[in-house]
C-alpha cells in the first residue's frame, strides 16, 4: 500500500530464506530429541543428495514428480483454487499411462507410445480433476473438500481395478504385467552412455525433461497468454473478472484440467519411466508435497524447480541417511517437509510484518 516499497530481494529472498532456515533449525531440534547429531545427519543428507552421480540422479528423479505436482498446485493457485487432489490426479494419470502402455507396448514403437502415454496420463489426470472443478464452478462445492474426497475415491478405484482387472497372472501383489521394453521411457544414464558419460544408475529418466518443458509451458501460459491473463484475474479478483467478461466458471474448469493434467504426468515418470508396470501407491504423497513445493517456489516455475530439487534432495538424502544410520527412519524427512510447509506457508507472515516494517521505516525516515 505504500509509496515506499520493500526491496524485492527482501520479499522474495530474505524472508523465505529466514522461514526455511527456521524450519531447518527446528528440524535440528528433532534430531537432537531423538539423540542424533544434526550436523552428522545433515552431512549424510547432503552427501546422499548431491555427493555422487547416482545420488544426484535419485534427487532429480524425485524432483521430477515434485515439479509436476508443484506446477499442478501452483497453476490452480493462480486462479485462486486450492487443488489438494494432486495425489488422486497423479494416481489416475498413472492409470492412464499404464493402460496405454499395456495396450500398445507390443504393437507400437516407443516414439509413438511415449507421446500417446503422455497425453493419456495428462487426460486421465485432467478428467479426475474435472468433476471437482465442475462442482466448484457450477455448484459451488468447496474444491478443497471435493478434491480430498477424490483422493480417497481414486485410491479405492485403483485397488478395485488392480485387484480385479489389471493384476498379472501368477503374482502375489496387485501389480500388472511388466511392459515390453518398447514402452519404457529411456533412462538418462542410457541416453548419456553412448556419449561416453557415466552418470550412475538411477531411475532418472526422460520424464525429467518433460517436467522442465512443463515449466516453460507454465511460464508462457500464465504470464504471456490471454488465458493466463484471465486466469490471474480470476485468481486475484473474481469480481473484476466478471466485469471483464471472463467466464469464471470456465476458467475454473480449464485451469483445474491443466492442473490435473500436470499432476497426471507423475504417472509418466513413475509408471513408464521407472516401474514399467502398473502398481498401487506409486504416488507416495507427491501430490501433497506439491503443495509445499508450490508454496516455497512462490508459485513461479523457477522457484518450483528449486523447491522440487530441495524436496527431492530431502527424499534422497533421507533415504541415504536412514541407510547409513538405520536408527533414523526416512519419516524424519516428512517432518522436515511439514516444518517447511508450516514456516514458509502458514507462518509466512511471522517475520514479514516485522522485516518489511523495518525496511519501510528506513525508507520513510
Amino acid at each position: 500500500m505504500s509509496q515506499a516499497k520493500v526491496p524485492a530481494w527482501v520479499s522474495v529472498g530474505l524472508i523465505p530464506l529466514l522461514n526455511i532456515l527456521l524450519a531447518f533449525l527446528v528440524s535440528g531440534l528433532v534430531f537432537l530429541a531423538i539423540g542424533e547429531d544434526p550436523i552428522e545427519a545433515a552431512g549424510y543428507l547432503v552427501y546422499g543428495a548431491f555427493g555422487y552421480d547416482e545420488g544426484i540422479g535419485y534427487t532429480l528423479y524425485y524432483a521430477t514428480n515434485l515439479i509436476f505436482t508443484g506446477l499442478a498446485v501452483s497453476v490452480a493457485f493462480k486462479a485462486g483454487l486450492f487443488n489438494i487432489g494432486g495425489e488422486g490426479q497423479a494416481y489416475i494419470g498413472g492409470l492412464g499411462v499404464g493402460l496405454l502402455c499395456l495396450w500398445f507396448d507390443s504393437s507400437l514403437p516407443l516414439l509413438v507410445i511415449a507421446p500417446l502415454a503422455i497425453i493419456g496420463g495428462a487426460l486421465f489426470g485432467a478428467a479426475w480433476a474435472y468433476i471437482p472443478a465442475y462442482l466448484q464452478a457450477r455448484r459451488g462445492s468447496h474444491i478443497v473438500i471435493t478434491t480430498i474426497m477424490f483422493n480417497f475415491i481414486a485410491s479405492s478405484l485403483m485397488v478395485y481395478l488392480m485387484v480385479n482387472w489389471l493384476k498379472a497372472e501368477g503374482v502375489m501383489s496387485p501389480i500388472s504385467r511388466t511392459f515390453e521394453e518398447s514402452a519404457w521411457l529411456p533412462y538418462m544414464h542410457d541416453i548419456f552412455a553412448p556419449f561416453g558419460f557415466d552418470i550412475g544408475d538411477s531411475p532418472l529418466n526422460l520424464a525429467f525433461v518433460l517436467a522442465l518443458l512443463c515449466c516453460v509451458f507454465y511460464w508462457a501460459l500464465v504470464w504471456h497468454t490471454r488465458w493466463g491473463y484471465q486466469l490471474r484475474t480470476v485468481g486475484t479478483n473474481p469480481t473484476a473478472a466478471q466485469y471483464a467478461g471472463i467466464d469464471n466458471a470456465k476458467v475454473t474448469i480449464w485451469v483445474m484440467l491443466i492442473s490435473g493434467g500436470l499432476a497426471g504426468l507423475v504417472g509418466v515418470n513413475e509408471i513408464m519411466g521407472v516401474n514399467h508396470n502398473l502398481l498401487l501407491n506409486f504416488t507416495a504423497g507427491y501430490g501433497f508435497a506439491g503443495i509445499a513445493v508450490a508454496l516455497m517456489g512462490r508459485n513461479h516455475p523457477i522457484g518450483i524447480v528449486l523447491a522440487a530439487m530441495l524436496f527431492g534432495a530431502l527424499y534422497q538424502g533421507g533415504a541415504e541417511l536412514s541407510f547409513e544410520i538405520p536408527t533414523i527412519t526416512p519419516e524424519i524427512v516428512v517432518v522436515i517437509q511439514g516444518l517447511v510447509i508450516l514456516f514458509s506457508g502458514a507462518l509466512e507472515n511471522m517475520f514479514k510484518g516485522k522485516i518489511e516494517g523495518l525496511f519501510l521505516r528506513k525508507a520513510a525516515a
Binding site: S2, Q3, R226, Y229, R232, T236, Y243, A244, G245, I246
Partner: protein, 517 residues
C-alpha cells in the same frame, strides 16, 4: 439524566495514527461539550472513521490522549470504550446477520455464562428503551431480514443497552432515505434531551446545519477547523473541507440528444437469495445525452449497471442495443457487450474495475485483453500494451506515470483515472459510469466531469449512476429515480430540485398532489 461534572464530555489531545505509510490521523485535538450534537465533516479518506474508531477502541492510536468527563482514560479495546460509556454506530454495520435482534444486542453483555436469564432480562430492558426513544423493533426478528433503517436501530439499541452516554454515528444517513434520516434525527434529538452526547459524521452539509450544535472539519488526517453551527454556512464548510474555494457547478452546454442508442424494457433481476432486485426497469438512452440515475444506494442501481453491461444475466426483459436484441434467452456477456462498443466504469474500482495485484499496464487492458491489439497468435504483446499505457498515462496525467507500478499503489484518484481512461479511450457508443468521483479529490473531480461532458458533446450516450445528488444534478440532462429496484420517476435536469428528488428517492412523491406528509 446524567450528572454533568465537566463541560466536555469527551476531549482528545494530539491523537495520531498511521497505517503503513498512510498518516490517517495527525495530531488531532477535539473537544465535545457534554449533551450536544457534534458534527464532524471531511472528504473521503480525511480520517474521520479512523478517529472515531480510535475513540471506540477499535484501533489503538500511535500517540495522544483521550479524556472522558475530564478524566483521562486509556482505551485499548472496545470493551474499555464501552466501560467509559461510549457507544458507536459504525459506517458499516457491525451486526451478526443471522442472529436475532436480541442476540445481537446482548452480544458482549450477556449477563451470565448461560444465556437464558440474560436474554429474558434484556428483553425487558429493550422494551423500556424502545418506548423511551420510540425505537420500535421486533426483537426476535433475524437481522438480515430487516431493512437497513431498522438494522441501524439495532446498532443504536446496542449502544443504549450498554448505557452509552456518548454515542458516535459514522455516516448514518448514507444508506437512509431522507425520511428515514428525519426519523433518525428525531431520535438523536431525544437522546440529546436525555443528556447523551452525540458525535455525528456525515458528508451532507445540510444535515450538519440542521441538527448539530458544533461542527469540526477534517482534511487529510488533520483537524483544520471548529465552528459553532449557528455561525457558519455551507460555503464556508465546503471550503474548509477541501482547502480551497469550490466551484460547485459544472460548465456545460445544453444537450443535443439524437437517436436512441440503447433501450431497455422490463428488466428484472433476482439476486442469489432470490430477492427481486430489479423490477421491470425500462429506460431509453439517446446519443448526446447524459442520463442520470438517482437513488439511495442499494435500490437497484448497481444491479441495473451490471445487467446492462452483461456482467450478470437478466431474469427477464429485453435490451435493444447496436442492432441486437438481448434477452434472458439470448444473453450477451460483458465481453460481447464491449465488442458492441459499450464501455463501463464500475462503481467500485477496487472490487471490480481493477485487479489491484496487477501492474498498471495489465490493469489498463482489463476487459479488452482479448483484443487483437494486444495479442499475437499465441502470446500477448507486452510491448504494445506498455507503449499504449505510457501514452495514456501521459494524456490523463496519471501520477506516477509508471506502467510497472502495482495498481494498488496508486492513490484513489489516479486509480480512477486509469479506469476511466481505459473505458473512454475505447471510443464507445455508450458509456455506463457508476460513482465516477467516489473517493476522488476535488481537483480530479473537475477533470473527470469535464471528460464526461466532452464525451457527451462528441455524440455519445452516457448513463450516470451516482448517490451524490449534487453530482447527478450537475451533470445530467435527464434524471431517473430508482427506489426498491424500480424506476419511480423521471425529470428533466431543468425541473429537478433536491426536495422533489429526495421525496422520489423515498418513494413518497405523488405526481399531481405533491409530497405526502
Amino acid at each position: 439524566m446524567t450528572q454533568q461534572t465537566h463541560p466536555y464530555s469527551i476531549e482528545l489531545e494530539g491523537i495520531s495514527k498511521r497505517f503503513g505509510t498512510v498518516q490517517a490521523n495527525k495530531n488531532i485535538d477535539l473537544q465535545v461539550p457534554a449533551g450536544t450534537i457534534h458534527g464532524i465533516i471531511g472528504e473521503n479518506g480525511a480520517g474521520k472513521s479512523t478517529l472515531m474508531s480510535i475513540i471506540y477502541g477499535f484501533y489503538e492510536a500511535d500517540s495522544g490522549s483521550i479524556s472522558i468527563d475530564g478524566q483521562q482514560v486509556s482505551i485499548r479495546n472496545s470493551q474499555d470504550a464501552i466501560n467509559v460509556g461510549i457507544g458507536m454506530v459504525h459506517q458499516h454495520f457491525m451486526l451478526v446477520e443471522n442472529f436475532s435482534v436480541l442476540e445481537n444486542v446482548i452480544l458482549g453483555a450477556e449477563g451470565g455464562a448461560v444465556l437464558k436469564q440474560g436474554m429474558d432480562a434484556a428483553r425487558e430492558e429493550l422494551k423500556r428503551l424502545e418506548q423511551e426513544y420510540s425505537l420500535d423493533i421486533d426483537v426476535d426478528a433475524i437481522v438480515e431480514d430487516l431493512p437497513v433503517g431498522l438494522q441501524q436501530r439495532v446498532e443504536i439499541l446496542k449502544a443504549l443497552y450498554r448505557g452509552a452516554k456518548i454515542l458516535i454515528l459514522d455516516e448514518p444517513t448514507g444508506v437512509l432515505t431522507p425520511q428515514e434520516a428525519d426519523h433518525l434525527f428525531r431520535i438523536l434529538k431525544s437522546l440529546k434531551e436525555q443528556g447523551v452526547t452525540v458525535i455525528l459524521i456525515t458528508h451532507k452539509l445540510r444535515e450538519i446545519l440542521a441538527s448539530t450544535d458544533n461542527v469540526s472539519v477534517m482534511r487529510q488526517g488533520e483537524m483544520v477547523a471548529h465552528r459553532e453551527t449557528s455561525k457558519t454556512d455551507k460555503e464556508e464548510l465546503a471550503e474548509l473541507m477541501v482547502g480551497k474555494k469550490v466551484r460547485l457547478k459544472v460548465n456545460k452546454d445544453e444537450a443535443k440528444p439524437e437517436q436512441t442508442v440503447l433501450s431497455a424494457k422490463d428488466l428484472s433481476f433476482f439476486d442469489g437469495q432470490g430477492v427481486e432486485r430489479l423490477k421491470k426497469v425500462s429506460l431509453d438512452l439517446k446519443a448526446g445525452e447524459i442520463l442520470g440515475i438517482a437513488g439511495v444506494s442499494g435500490n437497484g442501481q448497481s444491479e441495473l449497471l451490471n445487467v446492462l453491461s452483461g456482467i450478470t444475466p437478466m431474469a427477464s426483459g429485453e435490451i435493444q442495443f447496436a442492432g441486437q436484441t438481448i434477452t434472458a434467452n439470448a444473453p450477451k456477456n460483458a465481453a460481447q457487450m464491449r465488442d458492441l462498443k459499450m464501455a463501463h466504469v464500475p462503481e467500485d474500482r477496487h472490487k471490480m474495475g481493477l485487479v489491484t495485484g496487477f501492474e498498471a499496464y495489465e490493469a489498463a487492458v482489463l476487459g479488452y485483453h482479448d483484443s487483437e491489439a494486444y495479442n499475437g497468435s499465441v502470446l500477448m504483446k507486452r510491448s504494445a500494451m506498455l507503449e499504449e499505457c505510457n501514452e495514456r498515462m501521459a494524456a490523463w496525467d496519471v501520477r506516477p506515470p509508471n506502467p510497472h507500478l502495482k495498481t494498488a499503489n496508486f492513490s484513489g484518484g489516479n486509480q480512477q483515472k486509469i479506469v476511466i481512461a481505459r473505458e473512454v479511450e475505447q471510443n464507445p457508443n455508450v458509456l455506463l459510469i457508476g460513482q465516477p468521483t467516489r473517493g476522488v479529490d476535488i481537483g480530479a473531480i473537475e477533470n473527470i466531469h469535464e471528460q464526461i461532458v466532452k464525451l457527451r458533446d462528441a455524440g455519445k450516450a452516457i448513463l450516470l449512476v451516482s448517490v451524490e445528488l449534487d453530482e447527478i444534478m450537475a451533470l445530467s440532462d435527464r434524471i431517473i429515480v430508482m427506489f426498491d429496484g424500480a424506476v419511480v420517476g423521471e425529470v428533466s435536469a431543468n425541473e429537478a430540485d433536491e426536495r422533489t428528488l429526495g421525496l422520489m428517492m423515498a418513494n413518497a412523491w405523488n405526481e399531481g398532489q405533491g409530497a405526502q406528509a
